[in-house]
């Protein structure tokens, strides 16, 4: 039963990582434009340099 001492924290940590990744992607506005993201993956051009903050206001 000593294995539980590290198995359970490990399970929670992995799950927590998943949740953190989800919240990060949500805050990074990755779900704002699902259709556009699908097309952008096919774009061969290098992305234009982003000089302004990525977040549009509002």
């Amino acid at each position: 039963m000593t294995s539980l001492a590290w198995l359970i924290p490990a399970a929670l940590l992995l799950g927590g990582l998943g949740l953190a990744a989800f919240l990060w992607s949500l805050n990074a506005r990755q779900y704002d434009d699902l259709e556009g993201a699908a097309w952008r993956a096919l774009d061969d051009e290098p992305p234009p340099p982003q000089t302004a903050p990525r977040k549009p206001q509002g």
């Binding site: 039963m1 399970a11 998943g18 779900y31 259709e35 097309w39 096919l42």
Partner: protein, 745 residues
């Protein structure tokens, strides 16, 4: 002022902005240029190539800091240096690149997007917690089944579950708790009350049992329930956000700016909503008039079909009252804006609209109507289970467990999940057909419709006149008339040019054409004066109808061109499909009875009324309502707005006046009228689907509630059964996307 008029004559874009209207805050960097953020609607962005083209076009402009397109929202967010570029430059650049772009009139719906994000976050947390609690629960069940799990381990697992579930429930359940608290404060019951009660009771009881080291722990049931309910709420919310965004995009394409003339002759482009009485507004030829007012300079013809439904144009001279939304056709005008006067047509329309909206009352959505019966029933069942078990002599623990199981079993997932799922499937199907569903309950109201009432001008017809008897006009006369007509933006002139082009003639614009507002066009050649215009002015006999113009050649021979507003291509087909489906169809128009009769005959509508004022339209709708009919009103004009508000459900074409688009439940894009039959068919199918889902949910309740009351169902089994029923109704709703539809009243 004369200077201003001249500039306006050169085109509507001649007026240079002095200080562009900045609807979004401009950020001032300490040492850099002033950066402004704007969002433009780009209606024809459909694929990856469009994204590249839009972003590429904008990125090439000097002064653009960044441009990011959003394909799902059909918008592009731009950051640009305010002193190098105006919003019109950005729109102009996109237009030149072949895109349809417009500034959004309202600030982007940040609040709605934030609400979506908030729900998604809560769902993420609830999902994470549900999975981890489930992980621990499965271990406990496995341990209980094999019987070799020590009590201390089981207790530890329960405490771990509590550690995960309690904060997750406190965070994820907030939308439900808040809504339930609000309802209780107002002395009402809504569906969130039993949901909150079930979740809170299950959590509190589980916590208590964990402390006592008992086996009856149901954190998993509480958190799984929340996750499912949040999915339903998120779907509902996203559908509304999407529809509101699409409607805002459409409104962005309307005239929102006016050229204001200052006392020193300076012309400034300002947002129409910022116009104040007393300001003088320059309206170029072909522009829509931005504000109600009185003409102070210039003479022109005004197309007020959007206001009154009449196709014949009117002449405006200094002193004439003109209304916002009408189209200035033949010459630039300076208008002194006035406040909307008591007793004017516009004031009458807004008064009628207010009255109609109050009269209609609040429509109660199907889910709410069901909730009204369901919520008390759930409480009574839960309470009587608890009381029954106590009376039967059991302790409070099994009694409370059974009561919680009843609350969870009866959890209104069919209402919370299935109806939004049906609506999402229906609205995405309509969206693909170019129909934007605006009102959340519009689809439900549309499903009850049995009578369809059309407006004529701009709805059943295209709103663009055409020659009614082109064969009567000889080629050479048409050619001369068209070369004169090509100098004008008047719809009649355009109809003549269009006819000449369909006959394969090459239209060469005549030189030195003089436009006489209110009369027509004239040109003086070596042979004499030629005229194209009103019958009187050309010296024709007086019996010619108003929707005709005449051409007088140099020798004084007069040819009359009869014009009529042609039907939309599929108008007759749509009407016959509606009649075949069992709908009653009527035509109510503000135009002359003669023109209305003609259109009604061509479209195949037997019941028609012409010359209807806005209040008469409402009167007719009230008559129909009194006869037990549910009316779908389809109209585009300002004069239709009160009727749109009064009808049971309403639709507008995308070319409609702002006020009509705002009022109606759905907007159809494109030149076709088939959106009406599409919307009705989808609405009827969606309604049937929602009822089916209620059927599934009721069947499930009928099976499980007696079992739960008898104490045969633990809260965990209840949660699993609830999930299965939720998945079933959602899967059922998704069928709507690909279903074959039939149209029946």
């Amino acid at each position: 002022m004369a200077e201003a008029l001249k500039r306006a004559d050169a085109g509507s874009h001649a007026a240079k902005p002095v200080a562009p209207d900045v609807s979004s805050p401009a950020a001032i960097n300490d040492n850099g240029p002033v950066i402004e953020h704007v969002t433009l609607a780009v209606s024809d962005m459909h694929c990856g190539a469009c994204i590249q083209s839009v972003e590429g076009t904008l990125a090439k402009l000097p002064g653009v800091v960044s441009a990011r397109a959003n394909l799902a929202a059909r918008r592009v967010s731009i950051a640009h240096e305010i002193d190098k570029l105006s919003i019109e430059d950005l729109v102009g650049a996109l237009t030149k690149a072949g895109h349809e772009a417009a500034e959004l009139s309202a600030t982007p719906d940040a609040e709605a997007a934030a609400r979506d994000g908030d729900l998604l976050k809560r769902l993420g947390v609830a999902g994470f917690a549900a999975m981890n609690v489930m992980l621990l629960s499965v271990s406990v069940w496995a341990g209980a089944a094999s019987g070799d799990m020590e009590d201390s381990i089981q207790s530890m697992f329960h405490w771990l579950s509590a550690l995960i579930a309690l904060p997750a429930i406190a965070y994820s359940g907030q939308p439900f708790f808040k809504s339930a608290a609000g309802a209780l404060r107002g002395g009402r019951l809504n569906m969130d009350v039993p949901i909150s009660l079930g979740v809170l009771l299950a959590t509190a009881m589980s916590l208590f049992q964990t402390m006592r080291g008992s086996h009856q722990v149901y954190f998993d049931a509480a958190i799984t329930l929340l996750a499912f309910l949040l999915i339903g709420r998120l779907l509902d919310q996203q559908m509304r956000t999407k529809a509101a965004g699409a409607a805002a995009n459409l409104l962005g394409f309307r005239a929102y700016f006016a050229s204001c003339v200052h006392d020193d002759g300076r012309v400034e482009r300002i947002a129409a909503k910022n116009l104040k009485p007393g300001m003088r507004v320059l309206t170029a030829t072909g522009e829509r008039i931005a504000a109600d007012g009185v003409v102070s300079e210039g003479t022109s013809d005004i197309d007020d079909s959007l206001l009154t439904g009449e196709t014949a144009t009117k002449t405006a001279t200094p002193g004439t009252r003109v209304y916002a939304g009408t189209l200035n056709l033949t010459g630039p005008l300076v208008i002194e804006a006035t406040a909307t006067e008591e007793g004017s047509l516009i004031a009458e329309i807004s008064r009628l609209m207010d009255a109609a909206e109050q009269n209609r009352g609040r429509y109660m959505r199907l889910a709410d109507r069901a909730a009204r019966i369901y919520a008390p029933a759930v409480h009574v069942l839960g309470l009587s289970t608890f009381a029954g078990w106590l009376l039967a002599g059991y302790g409070w623990e099994p009694a409370l467990t059974a009561a919680i199981a009843v609350l969870i079993i009866t959890c209104p997932c069919a209402l919370a999940l299935a109806v939004p799922a049906v609506q999402v499937a229906a609205s995405s199907r309509l969206f693909a057909r170019g129909i934007i569903l605006k009102a959340a309950d519009g689809l439900e109201r549309m499903s009850e419709v049995d009578t369809v009432v059309f407006d004529k001008t701009g709805t059943l017809t295209t709103g663009e006149p055409r020659l009614s008897d082109p064969t009567a006009i000889p080629d050479d006369v048409l050619a001369r008339a068209a070369s004169l007509a090509s100098a004008s933006r008047h719809p009649y002139s355009r109809a003549i040019v269009a006819e000449a082009i369909t006959r394969g003639q090459s239209v060469e614009p005549a030189g030195n054409v003089r436009e006489v507002p209110g009369c027509g066009l004239s040109v003086t050649t070596a042979q004499g004066e030629e005229r194209l215009g009103s019958a009187d002015w050309c010296g024709a006999s007086a019996n010619a109808s108003t929707s005709s113009i005449c051409y007088r050649d140099a020798q004084g021979r007069v040819t009359a061109f009869a014009l009529h507003d042609s039907l939309r291509e599929d108008a007759a087909a749509v009407v016959s499909r509606l009649i075949a489906g069992g709908f009653a169809v009527e035509l109510l128009s503000g135009d002359r009875p003669q023109a209305v009769a003609e259109a009604a005959r061509a479209a195949g509508i037997a019941a028609w009324r012409g010359g209807q004022r806005p209040d008469q339209k409402i009167e007719r709708l009230e008559e129909l309502k009194a006869a037990g009919r549910r009316v779908l009103m389809i109209g585009d004009g300002i004069n239709d707005a009160p009727a749109l508000a009064a009808a049971h459900a309403s639709m507008s074409p995308a070319s409609a006046a702002d006020i009509s688009q705002t009022t109606s439940d759905a907007i159809m894009q494109g030149k076709m009228l088939s959106g009406v039959t599409d919307a009705l068919a989808v609405a009827k199918a969606a309604h049937k689907m929602a009822l089916q889902n209620f059927g599934i949910a009721i069947a499930y309740n009928v099976i499980f509630v007696p079992l739960a009351m008898a104490g045969l169902v633990t809260p965990l089994i209840a949660a699993v059964a609830m999930s299965v029923s939720s998945i079933t109704v959602t899967a059922n709703a998704v069928r709507l996307k690909a279903m074959r539809l039939e149209l029946k009243a």
